[in-house]
């Protein structure tokens, strides 16, 4: 595998840019071993941001991608799809969290920028050791189990059943209905509960 890393530093509007000098981080990234391209953008998760990643992959023959932005819980899937869209294996990608773990928890711009550089350096080092991973598939049994026959369980069971799927609804008591059946009229419409 060739070592051709692309680094994409997100500004997240001012969420990141206010505390971290992203241009400086990109400039630093360009000097890291293996990195052939680095840039910044205002919203990397947006459509033009993803387009930027896809185009850079083909233009610079990138093999590994690092996105320095928010928490992976927020946008790992977004960027993985963009990487796949650019023609790479989705796991030749690392996300570096410079928002929740940097710009949002620090005030001092110089130190926060330095930390972002450290985090990007770690991400680049890791992505160079990434291997393409393959997604496998498993079959799905199309029958749902709903545990609890109160208002929530009944509604979920009905909706799934209406969509044409089998549902097993388990209730601890001898009748469904749950707490709701013990209630008199209900707010704010004062209609009956049973």
């Amino acid at each position: 595998m060739k070592k051709r890393v692309g680094v994409f530093v997100c500004q997240c509007g001012t969420n990141i840019e206010a505390t971290i000098d992203t241009e400086k981080v990109a400039e630093y990234a360009r000097k890291l071993p293996g990195v052939v391209y680095a840039t910044t953008y205002k919203y990397m998760c947006s459509d033009p941001g993803q387009e930027l990643i896809r185009n850079a992959i083909s233009e610079h023959q990138l093999e590994q991608i690092v996105v320095a932005s928010c928490s992976p819980r927020m946008h790992e899937n977004t960027f993985r799809k963009a990487v796949v869209g650019g023609g790479l294996n989705g796991y030749m990608f690392e996300m570096v969290n410079i928002r929740e773990q940097d710009s949002w928890v620090h005030h001092e711009r110089v130190a926060a920028t330095k930390k972002a550089e450290d985090l990007v350096r770690m991400g680049v080092s890791k992505v160079l050791r990434n291997k393409p991973l393959q997604v496998s598939t498993i079959p799905i049994t199309k029958r749902a189990l709903v545990i609890g026959g109160g208002i929530a369980g009944m509604q979920a069971a009905l909706d799934i059943a209406e969509a044409g799927h089998q549902v097993v609804l388990v209730e601890r008591e001898a009748s469904i209905g749950g707490k709701m059946t013990q209630l008199d009229k209900t707010f704010p419409t004062m209609d009956c509960a049973a």
């Binding site: 350096r121 799905i140 749902a144 208002i151 369980g153 799927h165 609804l169 013990q182 704010p188």
Partner: protein, 463 residues
């Protein structure tokens, strides 16, 4: 309720509990324990003759929270779905003393089965919706100042619901439990167990402000010359038409007093509430006939054990933990397990229904595919390094690791032999990495987070 029972795609299993769950998203194996009902529901027509003739009539009715009476063979409530009776085995004279047996003699279709046993049913399941709901906070143990449950006319909001319900023990006439008299002055205390770090829970139970407004409204409209006093910390009416409803209760003449009640004590056949009106900064005392406590919602009994059985997490208060508070509110950290209603946190009816539909859509989305792509960042075993010590097996929170026997060719004077090595079920593994530090021979590695990759990150930072 009836729509659920009649739907051809829904199999209703009541008086039953989930006893075992194994497997993973798309492929769960579930065992359900159907408790013995001692009535053959296929034969039973629900005519109700057995309930009428059962001589053991004076049992406290749990559905009416002990305020009414029921026989040993009974429906949970008259409109129960399915509308069939079952025998409360612990209180049936036939089942405990081998006497009586009246129900068996009079049942016109011969549906009584005194030899009924618990049954275990097995199902293949693709997705699970948790909808285990809530219970009410046991205020009797925590709130000594409200009488530890000693005063019969200090009741919970759910007791009040039964009193005011047309199907309740008083047919909807508000009567206080001690002497059956109609109370003229009723006090309501909000946040009993909610928003109370010292005695109860830190959270707001969300529905109480509204049902207390409803209760006060019902007292004012159902009882002539009545007074309804509501003691509150805040009035929270964040819902569509909720503030308007609260105003309706105020317009009916309900008195809202901002203050915590510090003590309730009996005086003759009345109850005296000592409190402070914090808006005018003066201590006050109110004499009433009945007190209704808006008790906190707590997770349903047994819900914690169920979470452990299935293998997903709960929060600090025992509510089921959603995968993300904003972006994945009905998903759990266990793939294929979704949350609906109050099991995730206190909720009122509109929110429960909305969340249930959301969970249903997640299930339908999953079922719209015939195959599911799995996350490849899972644990893998280097069998050459694995010593078969099995330390990783109990550590896995998803029961994804098991031992398997492998054949070795032998050598150095030994013939072929077998040994045990760990095996990871890649469909069950969620890639949490808990097994990695447990592996003493470094045979386990998380794909995408290998030791080599992690060390390279540390090196990049430190060297």
């Amino acid at each position: 309720m009836v729509a659920v029972a009649q739907h051809p795609n829904i199999e209703l299993v009541t008086y039953a509990e989930v006893s075992k769950i194994s497997g993973y998203i798309g492929n769960f194996q579930v065992q359900i324990k159907k408790k013995a009902k001692y009535v053959d529901w296929d034969a039973c027509t629900g005519c109700g003759l057995c309930t009428e003739k059962c001589p053991t009539k004076k049992l406290k009715d749990e559905f009416d929270l002990g305020m009414g009476l029921r026989p040993a063979i009974h429906k949970l409530f008259p409109q129960a779905v399915p509308g069939k009776p079952y025998i409360d085995a612990g209180n049936c004279r036939k089942l405990t003393e081998d006497k009586c047996g009246v129900c068996e003699k009079i049942c016109p279709v011969g549906a009584i089965r005194f030899d009924d046993q618990d049954q275990y049913l097995d199902y293949e399941i693709g997705a699970i919706v948790m909808a285990t709901g809530y219970d009410l906070f046991g205020w009797e143990e925590a709130y000594g100042e409200y009488g530890y449950g000693k005063y019969p006319d200090v009741i919970s909001g759910l007791h009040f619901e039964r009193l005011v319900s047309a199907g309740g023990p008083t047919q909807g006439h508000i009567r206080r439990p001690s002497d059956g008299k109609e109370p003229k002055q009723v006090a309501f205390i909000k946040c009993v167990g909610s928003r109370d770090d010292t005695k109860g829970k830190s959270y707001c139970s969300r529905a109480c402000c509204m049902y207390t407004a409803k209760h006060a409204y019902q007292v004012k409209t159902k009882i002539e010359d009545s007074e309804a006093y509501v003691f509150y910390m805040d009035v929270r009416t964040a819902g569509k038409n909720y503030e308007e409803f609260y105003q309706r209760a105020l317009n009916e003449g309900a008195t809202f007093i901002r203050g915590r009640v510090s003590k309730i004590y009996p005086k003759g056949d009345k109850l005296v509430l000592k409190s402070e009106d914090t808006l005018i900064g003066r201590p006050i005392e109110v004499e009433v006939d009945m007190v209704v406590l808006a008790t906190a919602m707590v997770p349903s009994q047994g819900s914690l054990e169920l979470a452990k059985t299935i293998g997903f997490s709960t929060d600090k208060d025992g509510w089921y933990q959603e995968a993300h508070p904003k972006l994945q509110p009905v998903e759990t950290f266990s793939a294929g397990v979704y949350l609906a209603g109050a099991c995730q946190g206190p909720k009122d009816i509109p929110d429960s229904v909305a969340q249930a539909s959301a969970a249903a859509v997640k299930v339908c989305g999953l079922f719209s595919k015939s195959e599911l792509a799995t996350e490849p960042m899972v644990s893998e075993v280097d069998m050459g390094k694995c010593s078969g010590c099995a330390l990783c097996v109990p550590i896995c929170p998803y029961n994804a690791i098991s031992l398997k026997e492998i054949q070795e060719r032998g050598g150095h004077g030994h013939g072929p032999f077998t040994r045990m090595v760990a095996e990871v079920n890649s469909s069950l593994c969620q890639g949490c990495g808990a097994c990695i530090p447990a592996c003493r021979t470094a045979a386990l590695n998380l794909k995408g987070y290998t030791d080599e990759q992690l060390v390279s990150e540390v090196d990049a930072l430190c060297l």
